[in-house]
Symmetry: C2
Subunit: 262 residues, 2 copies
């Protein structure tokens, strides 16, 4: 089985006469890690759905030049998914970014909550964001996701809640007593038109505070339970996102409820 | 918020006159890591659903003695879930064991497939199994899961397939063209009685071979797709298990189909 080799080329990177020179990081990966040579095929994606079938034509000063043979423009799937995640301490968020990107998240918002244990040092935050953006590109390469998720800067939870677009469908992973399986919420509150964007909120290891749950409820977040056990943030993110994706896939498979049928 | 402290005491560990002495590992955790003292409350679970509310009464030669005040016997939920996982290389399986245990897996089977990259050195395998068993106990403590999953020894895929109990409902995470969302399979093939055990198979990073997919199909595994992207094994396990748990939760919420209604 010959493996497909992927490379990322940012949307602002120029293709002149179907040729493009990759940056050093991507060039190094192709020539030193994957050991590709002239004539080898590379699939190049720009992170916004454009995928090019290319051939490696030259290596000049450690930079790879590719020639594009075919362009495919993919459409982003609907609904899009936004994940608001209370950033855990240490490097756990790196794995969360990777896994959520494999699964096709469209936007990641690193949140600061009352029980967050993340550093508020601006330099450390900037370096984390940079690391996560690279992790997202790598996860796209590995999984075949053609859309690199947008990663926001760190935001306080209440600020983020206030700024959400009104038409979004909102879910918070919850261990509170009013939490229900997502399917029950979808059955109870069928919408006349399916949502185009779903927003998921996952709290920190110590859980959201009661006040934060109240804030989320006030902003129309539906509390969803993920089973009886207390999940770590990384497990909760993948579980909640997997369930939401699957529920909306099935929900959109069915014709929307007509207002006069209710 | 006072945190609940949990400790594990194996089912064969003796409770005489409501008192029990914990082993060194558990004692060390309570006294050195959590810094508990006489009079502190500890919830002790035996990994088979028995949960005791206890009080720390003594520490003798670095071993903790507890007095049991109340015993609760929990019932295991139905269906039970078995995960057969092609063991990835390195330490990835440790995280998979942790996450699957948080989510309530009942049994984990480390599988060897044609594209597995795991070592077949018996000593290394034994030490991995020991590490995973400890990881499962730790994940139970952290998540409040009262049932420590059984972890099988390494097994070749074909051997495992042949030995499965006939009444199990079987799913394989698949990127093959015949894969469908689990819900479609459940709608297409409604069962007159809901399954008591669900078996999930997740292949290795390089995927199962065509022959292995054929073997799984021959053993009545339904190929389920987890979305359009290629997921790493750890992501695939959590996704597949989350979706299966949620689907069966909803499926069991509904009355079973009566044979004469078909």
């Amino acid at each position: 089985m010959s493996r497909l080799h992927r490379a990322y080329s940012a949307p602002d990177r120029e293709w002149a006469r179907n040729r493009c020179v990759l940056d050093e990081r991507e060039s190094h990966h192709l020539t030193k890690v994957l050991r590709l040579r002239k004539g080898d095929e590379v699939e190049v994606f720009n992170g916004r759905g454009e995928v090019r079938k290319t051939v490696l034509v030259d290596v000049v000063k450690h930079k790879v030049e590719l020639e594009s043979k075919e362009i495919i423009q993919l459409e982003e799937s609907v609904p899009s998914f936004v994940l608001g995640i209370a950033v855990p301490k240490g490097k756990k968020m790196d794995e969360i970014v990777r896994q959520a990107t494999e699964m096709g998240v469209n936007r990641l918002v690193p949140l600061v909550t009352s029980r967050s244990e993340t550093s508020n040092d601006q330099k450390r935050r900037a370096s984390k964001l940079e690391r996560w953006r690279i992790a997202a590109i790598e996860a796209c390469k590995q999984s075949g996701n053609a859309f690199v998720p947008h990663i926001d800067s760190f935001r306080p939870l209440d600020d983020w809640l206030k700024g959400l677009s009104p038409s979004t469908f909102r879910i918070v992973a919850s261990l509170e007593s009013d939490a229900q399986p997502l399917r029950r919420w979808l059955t109870k509150e069928p919408s006349s038109s399916p949502p185009t964007q779903v927003v998921l909120l996952v709290g920190p290891e110590g859980d959201l505070s009661s006040e934060e749950y109240d804030q989320a409820r006030a902003h129309r977040f539906l509390p969803c339970d993920l089973g009886e056990n207390v999940l770590r943030v990384d497990t909760a993110v993948v579980c909640a996102f997997a369930i939401a994706k699957e529920e909306f896939r099935a929900y959109l498979d069915m014709p929307p409820v007509q207002p006069n049928e209710k």
